[in-house]
Symmetry: C2
DNA sequence: TTTGGAAGTGACCGGTCGGTCACTTTCTGA
DNA sequence: TCAGAAAGTGACCGACCGGTCACTTCCAAA
């Protein structure tokens, strides 16, 4: 499938150089097609490539992880069950981005903010973002109603949760992009250790309990 | 002071368009100088402007807030005192970025990741980042040793804390850049409400307590 | 008033990049 | 076999941008 090959190449180039730094020539070269062919498949050019990638790789990947790790009917009736469920979710997110599709993560990290700047696609991006947050907020709301979580508004909590995962991934990029060692040691350890750590901080809280 | 005028203009343009989108012509135009003058003051051009701004505005501002809100000798002997101290710190950070210097925040948010990509200045950027994290980690370590916080490693906790502030600011940008209303309502409320919310999540934890 | 250097300037240069389109190659079905 | 359509191509174009430098303006000291 030509389309997929072009998207793969575009993802790799966006992940490596960011949106501005990516050149359509390089994308076409890596996909082993002429630039004209690329424009046959994506008349909108660079812009359309970025949007489609965000839609089909980033947003779709996130929804897949959410559906798998926090399925309808997951037990959220007690604090312990809720903690376990979200611990698994955080771990699944980290594994997805770090291992399954690293390029997706890099594009997501480096260019996340850009989605707010492109007026043409603003509505589309906003829809995807809101969809992800909503999908995470739903089980949170459920757990709040069951008395398993503090009575906090669900969407802000979902923002916080996703923001912390994002923060961990940023730190990973730091450590990776820094051969001189200024950022080492990697602040969170492995993906599993990071999931444990994030879960402890977010669900148990930083304050000591007797 | 010419230098300051140029830096002010550069900060405004970087905040508005990001690093790639900013043109040296526009910076010179806004500073009301010829482009040549700009190169007299900053021979390194765009790159040097960005680095100096990051150094003198972003990093210096963060250190000022830290020194003011978490001074040496602040009481971190009990969970309650620690919670109060960091609540004040989070509030001070949000106020600094949202009210005192919005452009600084925007540049910081939009281009934070870029600092990892510019090899020439990598060491300088890394030093500033590490310095900020260290300054936050120091009181955290103190509180951990006093038994006020869980026995978690201080630097990762500092990362988490700063990452959450960053996440809130990102959400603010979203809400601000979205006239069509897809992101509304602003997920965290005012800066003070956001500080309360973040403190609750991070220090008390999400799980319900009987 | 003169003068020499410091400060300021913007037209210009080389290079890059997104996008186009006239042309070539490949496919298909009659 | 062949003709016409579909798919593929890359040289080229115009726009833009960072950085330069020969020139002008300013100013302070003599």
């Amino acid at each position: 499938m030509r389309r997929t090959a072009i998207l793969d190449a575009a993802l790799a180039v966006f992940a490596e150089h960011g949106y501005e730094g990516a050149s359509v020539d390089e994308i076409a070269f890596r996909a082993e097609f002429g630039k004209g062919t690329l424009y046959n498949y994506f008349p909108g050019g660079k812009d359309e490539l970025f949007f489609v990638l965000f839609e089909e790789r980033v947003a779709a990947g996130l929804h897949r992880v959410i559906a798998h790790a926090l399925p309808d009917g997951v037990d959220l009736s007690t604090p312990e069950a809720t903690r376990t469920a979200f611990h698994g979710f955080i771990r699944a997110l980290l594994h997805f981005f770090l291992e399954e599709s690293r390029d997706t993560m890099l594009m997501f990290m480096k260019e996340g903010y850009r989605t707010r700047l492109r007026v043409e696609h603003e509505a589309g991006f906003a829809e995807h973002f809101a969809g992800v947050i909503d999908a995470v907020a739903r089980p949170i709301q459920q757990a709040v109603e069951a008395g398993a979580l503090r009575p906090l508004p669900a969407r802000p909590v979902a923002h916080i949760l996703m923001g912390n995962v994002r923060g961990f991934l940023m730190a990973e990029i730091d450590a990776e992009c820094d051969p001189s060692g200024h950022f080492e040691p990697a602040p969170f350890g492995t993906a599993d250790q990071a999931a444990d750590f994030l879960t402890t901080v977010l669900f148990d809280g930083l304050l000591a309990r007797d």
